[in-house]
């Protein structure tokens, strides 16, 4: 491959030989072009490069020949350039590509490369001619322009204001990004009039009106409205619109910006509120001063200019206008002990914080002490010396006194609560009063109104020569102030004992006067029930009547004394009743226990040890208890421990003990959970030895059972005819059928089918007879109590079946009204049927003499919301007079000629044994209604789930 370099202006010899003059001319042209030019062969080989090219790149021809594999063309542009050249070579057309070329100084510059083919006369491509035009400056200008435009758009979109443009008809054309994001709308949703949906409904009309007038004016304008943000919240905005005019001055567009003015708006509202509240405060201040007695002052301390109001002066006991405003005078009025503590401390505090807050006492010119409280601000000069103080002062004497009294009361009540002796408490009480109301002696006289006399005088600061004679002093209405106070139950004020004629002849007067007592005020102290427990007495050595403050004190003291005395008496009573209780427990055979389930700690009363026959003081554990519990009842002990572990609120058991000598004790135990703290389960309970009662109960049950059986047997007598009828019917059928059968078999030929049918009937009638017998056996055959679930409807129906023919014979029309879905009851079926039978027969009997009306009997069952199942029998018989109603149930009381009068008595004891009730009422019209009700087996009045019911006949327990 031949190639020529023009690096030194001299062409290669081989080329010189093979090229024509045209070549030479071409090279000169190329060489003379002032911009970089490259010449390549039709195959793409670099043939020549002119000087500008070599100078631009700063490389030799040889180096530039391999331009495709060097970095002279920017790597990002290289592929495009090569591709453009190759495409041009294939098509033979010109190409034009922009690419960056590496200048000698290492800078890339943009070039526009124009590639043109050079052809011969036949149109064959001889060479390619690549003209490189530096377009770098132009390119950079373009980029800058583009960046500018992009920047502007970014600015519009990022300015915090909401920018928009609108057409001349007012409809929106453009919203900046911020605006759209603010509204949470897309550009399409917001454009035209879509944006108005985000305007607060209350503001829309006004905004539209403003917008129309701005457009009509053609001048910049503004309006305010609330805009709904994307989150639904409205904020106030200022809408500002500017017209854009074309060359002719006509408005062609509107531009606008909305600015958030929410804070400004709120500020306006707050400012208005602040002004209002300032005015209100001024009024309040005036009011507060007047009502709280807190007086304002403004004191320029160094100038001794004091703006003390006359009220402020009054707080110091000064006449209006008499305070000279000096620091020294002010200091002199403050109670000295408080100056050192409260006031100096408050000034030190004020120097650090500027806040003045002090409570201190002042001495009035008359010598009395008054508590003042000052709150305010202190101002300091440059040297740190106080020069001005403003604030309020108020009189807090009453509060301070109340505080003193409250702490005194607390102290006294603590003494009461901590069990200090009554003497100590009452002595302290007297000392307390003497400390507050100075220059007096106090005494409390405990009285015995049964005497009546003073049973104990207490007067800690009076000598025994005064108190001793008071002991056992009889109390009468006229014996002295205390006697009168105690008898008349009212306060007695003796202003001057010496000159009061009422007490002239009393023993007490001389006692008082001997001890310098002139004034004597006696106030009764009552129990809560209103009885006089004591008198509270204040003694003074000069004539006086109590001030309001002293009266307050008296009522406080008598109240505390009443509590102390009552408590002391209650404690005495408690000790007595504890002694009674112990004795009572012994007699009643009741022992107490407490049981901390969580720690296993069990505490027994002495009596409980005696019941279990353990040595008193033995450590009690469940295991130890287990050694005494009857083996058959051990499951109850386990059950109890399990329930207690769960923390059930109450439990109750009856169980037996098997003692060492083989005797059996029956115990009834009840326990209740005491309080409830997390992790702590404690039961308090009682255990009663019910052995004797159980024996009596068993004997009673035995007797009752016998009696019930006797009563049933008597009913049987009444029913004999009826029962005979019930048995005769099927017997008759049996005999008739058997006879028929015999005849059918004897016939010639024997009638086998007929005989078989009569045998079937015989069996059926036999069964019918045996049913009757079974019923009889169940009703009359046994007598032990058996608890089971009983359907009263079914039980009653069985009894009715037995008595049906008897009732028919008595011409009784029986009507049954049985409740559907009647809940079952728990009980002894036979006993309940006995009651039903008794009631049915009684009702029939009561109607036996009735001929003027149908002998109608109605048997009803039902249940009520209290979980009771009811049964009643209503008759139209002779009835009873109302005062007979209870006698009917007495044993051996009867209105019948025959009968022992035990039926109803037994019936009632049976029903009560089922925790039910049996009663009689007069029927409206004629006759009587006998009813009983017993708890349903699962009804709410059935025993609470945590209790245990003793099933007497089985000696076991149903829970």
């Amino acid at each position: 491959m031949e190639s020529k370099a023009v690096t030194d202006g001299r062409l290669d010899e081989n080329v010189a030989e093979g090229r024509s003059h045209a070549d030479s001319l071409f090279r000169q042209i190329v060489e003379s072009i002032p911009v970089p030019v490259a010449v390549t062969t039709p195959e793409g080989e670099v043939e020549a490069l002119n000087r500008p090219t070599l100078e631009y790149f700063g490389k030799t021809f040889e180096e530039l020949k391999g331009w495709k594999s060097s970095d002279v063309v920017h790597p990002d542009d290289l592929q495009d350039t090569i591709a453009a050249q190759m495409a041009a070579h294939e098509t033979g057309g010109a190409y034009n590509v922009e690419s960056r070329h590496l200048r000698a100084d290492g800078q890339y510059r943009w070039f526009n490369v124009l590639g043109l083919p050079l052809r011969d006369g036949q149109g064959n491509i001889l060479r390619w001619f690549h003209l490189q035009i530096d377009i770098d400056d132009q390119k950079r200008a373009e980029e800058a322009l583009l960046a500018n435009e992009r920047g502007l758009s970014e600015i519009i979109n990022t300015i915090p204001a909401l920018a928009w443009s609108a057409r001349t008809d007012g409809s929106a054309e453009f919203f900046n990004q911020h605006y759209l994001e603010y509204l949470g709308l897309s550009a399409d949703e917001a454009k035209d009039w879509g944006w108005t949906t985000a305007i607060h409904p209350e503001d829309l009309d006004r905004l539209s009106e403003d917008w129309r007038s701005i457009m009509a004016s053609g001048k910049p304008g503004e309006s305010e409205a609330r805009l709904r943000r994307h989150d639904g919240k409205y904020r106030w905005f200022l809408f500002r619109a500017n017209p854009l005019r074309d060359e002719s001055g006509k408005v062609s567009k509107w531009y606008g910006v909305n600015t958030d003015i929410e804070d400004r708006k709120r500020g306006e509202i707050e400012r208005k509120l602040a002004i209002d509240s300032l005015q209100a405060n001024q009024g309040l201040l005036d009011l507060a001063q007047k009502s709280a007695g807190a007086m304002a002052f403004d004191w320029y301390i160094q100038e001794e200019i004091n703006v003390w109001s006359s009220e402020q002066e009054a707080l110091f006991g000064l006449a209006p206008g008499t305070f000279d405003g000096t620091y020294d005078t002010w200091k002199s009025m403050i109670y000295a002990p408080d100056w050192a503590t409260a006031v100096v401390r408050a000034i030190q505090h004020a120097q650090q914080t500027g806040e003045v807050d002090a409570e201190y006492r002042v001495v009035w010119p008359d010598g009395s002490l008054h508590w003042l409280a000052t709150k305010g601000r202190m101002f300091f000069d440059n040297e740190g010396k106080p020069f001005r103080m403003v604030g309020f002062t108020s009189d807090v004497t009453r509060r301070k006194l109340a505080e003193v009294r409250l702490s005194g009361e607390k102290h006294l009540l603590e003494m009461v609560a901590s069990g200090r002796s009554l003497f100590d408490v009452l002595s302290e009480l007297c000392t307390y009063v003497e400390g507050i109301a100075t220059e007096c002696h106090c005494s409390i006289n405990l009285v015995d109104m049964n005497g009546p006399k003073i049973r104990r005088p207490i007067a800690p600061t009076m000598p025994s020569t005064y108190t001793d004679p008071l002991l056992d002093l009889p109390l009468y209405s006229d014996s002295g102030p205390c006697g009168m106070a105690a008898h008349q139950k009212k306060q007695v004020i003796v202003e001057d004992m010496e000159n009061d004629p009422m007490w002239r002849s009393t023993e007490y007067r001389s006692l008082a006067l001997d001890h310098g007592v002139r004034a004597c005020w006696s106030t009764p102290i009552y129990s809560r029930a209103g009885n006089v427990l004591a008198t509270f007495v204040i003694l003074q050595d000069k004539p006086a009547t109590p001030s309001a403050l002293q009266q307050d004190l008296i009522s406080q003291v008598t109240h505390i004394a009443s509590i102390a005395i009552e408590r002391a008496e209650a404690e005495g009573a408690l000790k007595r009743s504890e002694a009674f209780l112990a004795e009572g427990q012994n007699l009643a055979r009741i022992g107490n226990f407490s049981w901390r389930v969580d720690t296993g700690e069990i505490v027994w009363s002495d009596q409980l040890y005696r019941i279990f026959e353990f040595e008193i003081g033995t450590k009690i554990t469940l295991e130890l208890i287990g050694t005494r519990v009857h083996p058959d009842d051990m499951t109850l002990l386990y059950d109890m421990a399990e329930r207690a572990g769960r923390g059930v609120s109450d439990y109750e058991y009856e169980h037996r003990l098997l003692m060492a000598d083989g005797s059996v004790k029956h115990l009834h135990m009840m326990a209740h959970i005491a309080g409830s703290q997390p992790g702590r389960i404690e039961y308090i309970g009682a255990v009663q030895d019910v052995t004797q009662r159980r024996f009596s109960e068993e004997a009673l049950n035995q007797a009752r059972s016998e009696l019930a059986h006797a009563a049933r047997a008597m009913s049987l007598g009444v029913l004999t005819a009826s029962i005979a009828h019930e048995v005769s019917q099927p017997l008759s059928g049996i005999i008739t059928n058997a006879s028929t059968c015999g005849r059918m078999l004897d016939a010639d030929p024997p009638n086998i089918d007929g005989a078989r049918e009569t045998v079937r009937r015989t069996i059926r009638d036999g069964n019918r007879a045996s049913e009757v017998i079974k019923r009889l056996r169940s009703l009359f055959g046994k007598k032990d109590f058996t608890a089971e679930s009983v359907d009263l409807n079914e039980a009653a129906q069985e009894v009715i079946e037995l008595t049906k023919s008897e009732l028919r014979r008595s011409e009784v029309i029986l009507q049954t009204e049985f409740a559907r879905d009647l809940p079952a009851v728990n009980g002894d079926r036979v006993q309940l049927q006995q009651v039903i039978l008794n009631l049915l027969l009684n009702a029939a009997d009561a109607m036996s003499s009735v001929d003027d009306r149908p002998r109608q009997m109605t048997v009803q069952t039902g249940s009520d919301v209290n979980g009771l199942v009811n049964f009643s029998v209503t008759d139209q018989g002779v009835g009873f007079v109302s005062d007979e109603a209870e006698k009917l149930f007495d044993a051996f009381y009867t209105t019948k000629k025959s009968g022992m009068g035990i039926g109803l008595s037994v019936s009632r004891s049976i029903i009560e044994g089922h925790k039910g009730r049996l009663w009689a009422e007069s029927n409206q019209g004629n006759g009587a209604v006998f009813s009983f009700s017993i708890p349903a087996a699962d009804g709410p009045t059935a025993l609470p789930a945590s209790s245990v019911v003793l099933d007497k006949s089985r000696g076991s327990y149903d829970i």
């Binding site: 019917q729 008759s732 008739t736 028929t740 059918m744 009937r761 009638d765």
Partner: protein
């Protein structure tokens, strides 16, 4: 003269009697019909053709004795044999006095029944 098999009618509220007694009566060679109440019998056509009435005493509604009185009032002279499941014989004399042929106490034997029926048929 054509011999007519005597018709014995049974009136009893007890179904087992109404089933078994007519069967036995037929085995004894009579024809038999059963009615569950006095009222039913009075309304039936058998009233005229009955030769002997076997009648329960205690029935709901019209009792046996009531029916006896009613027949007497209507001058229907049907011989009556009372049957009853009661053990109390106090009613018996009064019933016989009023023309009853016999009063059988349940359960009664085939022999007693046949004797009473024959006695009744003899009177008619």
């Amino acid at each position: 003269m054509i011999y007519k098999i005597p018709l014995i009618s049974v009136v009893d509220d007890d179904e087992s009697v109404r089933e078994s007694l007519p069967d036995l009566i037929r085995e004894l060679g009579f024809s038999a019909e059963a009615f569950s109440s006095a009222e039913e019998f009075l309304e039936s056509e058998s009233l005229r053709s009955t030769d002997c009435l076997i009648l329960d005493i205690a029935m709901p509604g019209m009792t046996g004795p009531d029916l006896q009185q009613e027949l007497k009032r209507r001058r229907e002279e049907i011989p009556i044999v009372f049957i009853t499941a009661r053990i109390d014989e106090a009613d018996r004399p009064r019933l016989l006095e009023n023309g009853a042929i016999d009063c059988l106490f349940k359960p009664f034997s085939e022999h007693d029944l046949l004797r009473a029926v024959n006695a009744a048929l003899r009177t008619s």
